[in-house]
């Protein structure tokens, strides 16, 4: 229960006692982990059951007659379009991430490393925009999309969010921590400011770039309110929006509903297990500001 680290001293018997004392904590963690995994397990189990067995009582913890028919049906279904939605989400998130990184790097560099009139003012201006909740700009932005004829295009999904303030803030703080001597040395060797950015600043900023990249990708991937209104045609919906309309169609066909949900969730879960380290590091890094 208590948050005390083990003291480095201590005999072997003390160490064994500590191990025994850890047992209840371990059991508790296992129970919690099972509860956390239960909905995901139930999603997968349901998706492999024939429709009639999804609501069988008593509970079928393991499918008695496992089948892939739910998956076959939704992938082939004319109104499923899961692959299309996945592609829309992947393309949007990738383009959004690249654009965010490029814009934020270019803006954070002079804010951290150059002297010019209005630098502080502009930085604070960008920063203060973080106080505006998204709902305030939703309606005017929507009308702008209408006027630009961007409704149901990738433009609407990608561009409006790329100039975010958080990215500039995060990168500027990181760039400030890079020793100025490195930059001066490169200058002595005749590098111009773009070369300093490319050959001195960026190579040293890989961790923070990865962090911002992962956050941007996830932010776009999970974005919900905005794509719900600006990408409504079945071909332009992103995965979260598409899967919602899909869920309204298969509202009582739980096997197919869960197969569709699993197809939306599993690639993300796999990517998470591969890239988990960077994500946790990123949160720790940005949280460390605290």
């Amino acid at each position: 229960m208590a948050a005390l680290p083990n003291s480095p001293r201590g005999s072997r018997s003390q160490a064994r006692w500590r191990r025994v004392r850890d047992v209840p904590r371990f059991v508790l963690l296992v129970v919690l982990a099972i509860i956390f995994l239960a909905p995901l397990y139930w999603m997968l189990t349901t998706s492999f059951k024939p429709e009639a067995e999804t609501i069988s009582i008593p509970v079928q913890w393991v499918p008695a007659n496992p089948t892939l028919e739910n998956y076959a049906e939704i992938v082939n279904s004319p109104d499923g379009r899961l692959l299309r939605w996945t592609w829309n989400s992947v393309f949007t998130a990738a383009a959004f991430t690249l654009a965010t990184l490029a814009l934020c790097v270019l803006a954070a560099y002079p804010l951290a490393r150059m002297r010019f009139r209005g630098r502080e003012l502009w930085f604070w201006f960008i920063l203060s925009s973080m106080m505006v909740p998204g709902i305030v700009t939703l309606i005017p932005s929507y009308i702008m999309m209408l006027n630009l004829n961007w409704i149901d295009t990738y433009h609407a999904l990608i561009w409006p969010g790329v100039a975010n303030a958080f990215g500039v803030f995060l990168l500027r703080q990181f760039f400030l921590g890079i020793p100025r001597e490195l930059q001066e040395a490169a200058r002595m060797d005749g590098a111009n400011s773009l070369q300093v950015l490319r050959h001195v600043i960026l190579p040293l900023s890989v961790p923070v770039l990865v962090t911002l990249g992962v956050f941007s990708f996830m932010g776009s991937w999970n974005n919900y309110v905005w794509p719900l209104y600006v990408a409504t045609s079945p071909d332009m919906q992103t995965l979260p929006v598409g899967i919602t309309s899909f869920s309204q169609r298969y509202v009582t066909e739980y096997g197919k509903l869960m197969a569709g949900t699993a197809l939306a969730a599993v690639p993300v879960l796999v990517a998470y297990l591969l890239a988990q380290r960077y994500l946790v590091q990123g949160i720790a890094l940005t949280g460390m500001k605290e």
Binding site: A2, A3, L4, P5, N6, S7, R25, L29, L32, A33, F36, A38, L40, W42, I55, P58, L106, A107, P110, L111, M114, L127, S129, M130, V132, P133, G134, I135, V136, L138, I139, S141, Y142, M144, L146, W159, P160, A163, A165, F169, L176, N192, N222, V225, L239, V241, T244, S247, Y254, L257, A264, V268, L269, L273, V280, I283, A284, G287, M288, E290
Partner: protein, 314 residues
Amino acid sequence: MSPATRPNQRRGSLLALNESNPLIPYLFLLPHAVFFLVFVIYPVGYGLYISLHRWNLLEGQQEFVGLLFYRNLFDPSTPQYSFFWKTLLNTAFFTAVSTPLLVGAALGLAILLYRPIFARAVFRAIFFMPGILSVAVMGILWRWMFDNQSGLVNVIREQYFDLPVIQFLTTEWWAWVPIIVGTVWWTIGFNMTLYLAALGGISPTLYEAAEIDGAGPWARFRFITWPLLSPTTLFITVTTVLASFQLFGQSLVITNGGPVRSTQSVIQYITEEAFGNNQLASASAMAFVFGLLMLVFTAIQFRLMVRDMNAEGR
């Protein structure tokens, strides 16, 4: 950053094609500035303008009406008055219940996981995992878990505990349970990770000294861990409150705001007013009033961020 560390550069001409050109910093800023002004700053002003006119999707802008739509929100005879404040109260209720859970349980998980234990990284990965799912996936999952008839929760209640079925999704108050449970499951890992990082920053010698002085586990928590975590707790609480007030997808997918708007969030109501009722101006006015109310929390968050930035030393 002091002038002494940097030799005074000669200012070049505005037309110089080399590093002496004083416009160079602005050129770097330009691409971001264009998108920032067009898609972040301009919509704020445009939204204010919209809220002062009649406006609908078919005909666009109509006549100027001044503060009419703001006054409607304070006039008990309008539907906007009753629905806006009702859904705002719903959202406040959700925030008041979910925030203590999301802060307290996250701290509990972090403390359970902080000291080394077998498979610690696996546990940490599991507790964080739900957070990467999109809100649609999370909502569909929990709607199925709490389904009125065949949901796992009801089936387990019936089969193992012989309890009656609860119509979670369509009963007032009970409908909050899947939304809140789902939200805690979905977002707790984020707060836990922040707490784990903060716990890592507490020096072990403090605990050793306390142990020598005979402090028990509770005393060590109460007088070392808790006070040293208080900046983190404040930060996590403020961000969680703000995130909870943005409630939208969870209740949209799980209950669609029902039964009879009892779980409708204020954001869902604003979007309904805008895109369902085609009342863009009225919805814009609501968004501004909501944004102003949120300013209390965003201002605190902003101050915390600035304080950290200055503490980092420039």
